[in-house]
Amino acid sequence: MSPPHPKLQTQAPGDGGPVVPARVLWSADRRTLSIDGSWTTAALARLGPTPAELNQSTEAVILDGSGLTGLDTAGALLVHRLVQRLRGQGREVQLAGFDARRLALLDLVAERLAVEAEALGQQGPPPRPTGLERLGRLVVEGGREGFALLSFCGEVCLAFAQSLLHPARFRWRYVLSVLEHDGVRSIPVLGMLSFLLGVVIAYQAGVQFRVYGGNLYVVDLVGITVLRELGPLMTAIVVAGRSGSAYTAQIGTMQVTEEVDALRSIGVSPLDLLVLPKILGLVIALPLLTVFADVAAVGGGMAMSALMLDVSPEVFIRRFPEAVSINSLLTGVAKAPVFAAAIATVGCYQGFQVRGGADSVGRHTTASVVRALVLVIALDAAFSVAYSWLGI
């Protein structure tokens, strides 16, 4: 016999009156299993174990429901499972003391569960993939995505080629809006970050140079690293975080709300309207931003040199053209349009990959930034290799 539960007299949450917890009582002499109390969702949580003696015999039992004070579908489900288990032990079960409404509820549950069991025989939850399977899926997925990105690039190139034939139909106004939003408005944050970058480089270099008395070489170091490498890279990182993610979110949201399909149905190519102006705008904006970032970073280096290394701005500026050739600037700025195309293409591509709801937008926005950064740094490495081959 299951012991009465200590919380017997407490009130169930969410109910006005006292709720008697659900119980199962076995009376051996009458061969009766009585269920009493409230078999409702709130009270079921405290259902004790069923009597152990029941497992020892296989004789017929009577299931007495006259003590029930409440029965809802969850309760009916458990009653049904109880009956199923008893019958599974090979005994006959007779229901007694249930009123018509409760019997109807039990019938309803049994009938629906039969439907469920029949269908469920064929399938359970989808199995979790094993490690090897997951690796395989990852590889296939990666390959497919690379291919999809490549074909997206192809589509974009084709669309560009078509716009070249009809330049009047190109959405120049959107290009201007991109220049404003992703170019002009990123100047403050980019300026600040680049200035600080210059300060950090000058400081780190200065600590070393001062030991050897080569203070003036800070100009060479700051100038060359900033113009060749860090300026373009910093700009690309800021723009990938700021604009690439925004492109994904914008196109992704439009995809969710079926605006992209609406555009297609009106006969406007989403590529023409949403992608080409962004790519072109960013390809124009990024080199300009890079030059700005270069100036800010060199300015930061100059300030730090004056404060720490006794290299006055005058000296710094006089030394600068001697130390840094125009090539450094050009090789740096030349990278910017390539970075820009990569960031905008990845951002837009990820936007079009959005399926379903809001969480998908978030996932793809993250993916967009991560992929864009990886791509930018890989491209930067490729540029370094190429420049060294060309001897620039």
Binding site: G14, D15, G16, T73, L108
Partner: protein, 253 residues
């Protein structure tokens, strides 16, 4: 459930003024009214998601307190809500969606919760293979049914449906009407719903409350409301669409 002297204002615009409405135990009450007459707002006040500017809300014979207090939470557990657009959690499968209230509000074991959730799923008329799908993979009708299944998860005393048939084709809407009636019959639910659908109005609710001019203008069975010669009711219940819906019911009966 009782509302007394409800007044709701958004800034200076009041959409309810001295509104009274009650839902009796075990009945299906439909709230109708023109678009923008504040049906959904009234529904949100019933389920304690919104506080009226003035007036009294009584639920299950208890005075409803501040909407963020523990008492409100306790009362809310006895209400199952199906939102207009389903409001299923997109990140969870259908079965997980239905399990959420059970997991949060009971201490039942995981297999039992799964069992109960599966039962609610079939009760709402969904095929079992929908259990492991995500909401985005469901059709409109299945989406509504999944939302209904989640509303039923805790075996609520009061089921609130906001526009259950909206966005469904006639066959789907008919099936949903049937389902609501069935569930009401077998589970003894009290149901409060809003709807625009005249076919639904003829077939599902016991009583209909007509919301207009910032209050409940009339309450009664569809027959009573249709026979009324009040011009405002007549426009709603005796237009061409209303007549078609009515004759439809009769031919089906």
């Amino acid at each position: 459930m009782e509302l007394r002297g409800i007044r709701t204002c958004f800034g200076s615009a009041c959409i309810h003024e001295g509104l009274d409405l009650s839902v009796r135990r075990g009945e299906i009450l439909a709230l109708v009214g023109a678009s923008g007459s504040g049906k959904s707002v009234l529904l949100r006040e019933m389920i304690l998601l919104r506080r009226p500017t003035a007036g009294q809300v009584r639920l299950f014979g208890e005075e409803a307190p501040a909407i963020d207090g523990p008492t409100a939470n306790r009362l809310r557990r006895r209400i199952g809500i199906m939102f207009q657009h389903g409001a299923l959690f997109n990140a969870l499968t259908v079965l997980e969606n239905i399990s959420v209230p059970l997991k949060e509000q009971t201490s039942l074991s995981a297999p039992v919760i799964r069992d109960i959730a599966m039962l609610k799923l079939v009760l709402a008329g969904l095929p079992t293979d929908a259990a492991y799908k995500y909401p985005e993979q469901l059709s409109g009708g299945m989406h509504k049914r999944a939302a209904l299944a989640r509303a039923l998860a805790m075996d609520p005393d009061l089921l609130v449906l906001d526009e259950p048939g909206t966005g469904l084709d006639p066959v789907g809407a008919d099936a949903l009407d049937e389902l609501i009636r069935d569930l009401h019959g077998s589970l003894g639910l009290t149901v409060a719903m809003t709807t625009h659908d005249l076919d639904t109005l003829w077939r599902v609710p016991h009583r209909v409350a007509f919301l207009a001019e910032r209050r409940i203008l009339a309450t009664g069975t569809m027959d009573e409301l249709t026979r009324s010669d009040d011009p405002r009711l007549a426009a709603f219940f005796q237009g061409p669409r209303a007549r078609a819906a009515r004759s439809g019911t009769w031919s089906r009966a």
